[in-house]
Point group: C2
Chain length 342, copies 2
Amino acid sequence: MNPRSKNSTRPTIIHVARAAGVSKSTVSRVLQGDAASVKTETRQAVTRAIRKLGYEHNAIASMLRTARTFMVMLITPDIANPFWSEVARGLQDTLERPGYSVVVGNGDRDPQRENAFLKTARRNRFDGIAINPTVIHSRELRAANIPTIILGVRDGFPGMDMIGSDSFQGTFDALTYLFQMGHRRIGFIDGHYNADPGRARYRAYRDFLKQRDLVFDPTLLVEVPFERAGGQRGMRVLLNVAQPPTAIFCSNDILAVAAMQTAQEASLVIPRDLSMIGMDDIYPAAMTMPGLTTMAKPKYEIGCQAAHLLLERIEGKAPREGRRCVLPCKLIERGSVAPPRG
Amino acid sequence: MNPRSKNSTRPTIIHVARAAGVSKSTVSRVLQGDAASVKTETRQAVTRAIRKLGYEHNAIASMLRTARTFMVMLITPDIANPFWSEVARGLQDTLERPGYSVVVGNGDRDPQRENAFLKTARRNRFDGIAINPTVIHSRELRAANIPTIILGVRDGFPGMDMIGSDSFQGTFDALTYLFQMGHRRIGFIDGHYNADPGRARYRAYRDFLKQRDLVFDPTLLVEVPFERAGGQRGMRVLLNVAQPPTAIFCSNDILAVAAMQTAQEASLVIPRDLSMIGMDDIYPAAMTMPGLTTMAKPKYEIGCQAAHLLLERIEGKAPREGRRCVLPCKLIERGSVAPPRG
DNA sequence: CTGAAAGCGCTAACAA
DNA sequence: TTGTTAGCGCTTTCAG
């Protein structure tokens, strides 16, 4: 039954060629859809032979010969993080059409792991890399000598393509929105990693205050790690300052949701007693009660655009210099913001 | 600077061999860590040459020769779904050590796409496949002739390894938990897909009722699609039955969270007026107010175990017949369940 | 312990 | 339009 049972080896183009009474080159041509240079009858004969033998193109052999693998490595800190899994989805969906497969690596903010994936990309001669660099440096990336797109807009990667969202503008707009709702004492729970990417949100906060002639009150700013516990701690701190804020901006939704819950546990009613605004618009943000108002980052689109930029670079259609693509954030109004009381 | 600048080609083992004054075979042996059969001095000479030339092993050529790719294809409906992204994480984390890369495919419950990924796995001679089959059949999987692990416990895949969690037991335990809290009228919002995998939850619900001598009240059961809107609709229906339930079990957390919010919007206080319990324990379940009590599925562990089973199968260490590995669910008590009022 | 040689299955000039 | 030929870079007998 099975054309290739047990210990018989898989058919190759040679077998197909023999069965069709042509040469391997001809088979190769029809395999590549080189319609122009093979007679219709011949092609049909080959196609028939292929089907009869149950032949399956061997991409590995082809890779070796053409030095093209149609493989792309995606390196993010954690694919289980809803932010990155959405980016991954966008990347994969758009790379799928031109026939690329994407391998995903969880770098985990660990130099060892991040580099291990880079090494895999090199050894397997991947055609491209999409990476959110946390510990890896420009030098290593450049040395890999593989077309690369940086996920996130960063300094320190000169000449490389980058794509990200405008955290500065997003933060600024979020704060402006709160201001226009009437808030004047606006708290800021600022998440950070060890390797801090430019502190766009912090700069936006300071710039915003300046523009609105509000004085910077250090008690309204609290720095925490980018995780639930950070949001909880941040809220506890802000709840206990002498003059508490009427609204709080959080660096991302994970912090915001955790902070909001902490406030609710302290019997504050959101948004009546306190307005909350987050950033990213991850999945859970729509699931809180009230829904979290947030500056959405275009995660899926970032993935899609990243794919396009990378594809151009791979195909040599990109300009020599690195490109920066910065997508705007967008306000999603749900229920966590209202004018201040009184 | 760069040892391989511009249009010079990458060094191969031949270059290394020449530089070290040995043959390619020797270099190959060193590369494979075949310590036993190469003199220490020779190995050092080779290593030195490798470093000097900036040689990088070409995995593609190696694959062609050895017919091993160290690539695994993961096919799920949607990697952006928090359930699957956790499974993916587990799979990747454990496949990483033995040197496998995993390509992830979003099958999207679409026959076209699911098959396309399977085809990629075949053409690229992947060593293994991990799949949650939604539309693909056993026959196609078997025809691919690649070691496979089924994600989810299903009928219709005879002889194949499977791993999943015990939805029947989980549902049964969740209902029992509600019963022990004193609930007797327990509603059930049951999600389903077109291709329904056995309806374990439904069977558990019926069995539970029987065991506890409770009569099955069809008005307490509502079937909805597996998405937020389904949860909302389900809750609206249950809120309007003549004798509403005092507790509700939902097929998964997405439904549960949406249902809980809908109840809250209708001014019910959870769990005072109504207890809610979900299943899966996805990320957002911890972020609601109150936190959602749920039967957790061991998502990450499923990924890890899947990797182990697959590895054994790939290495020919697995028994001929298919194995079934069913992991238990675990109750996570948060704040959404309490004894009924009165 | 090391080397020579024969491919793995395909593509891409170059000829015909 | 088709066939011949020479590899792509590595692994792996088999000799030595």
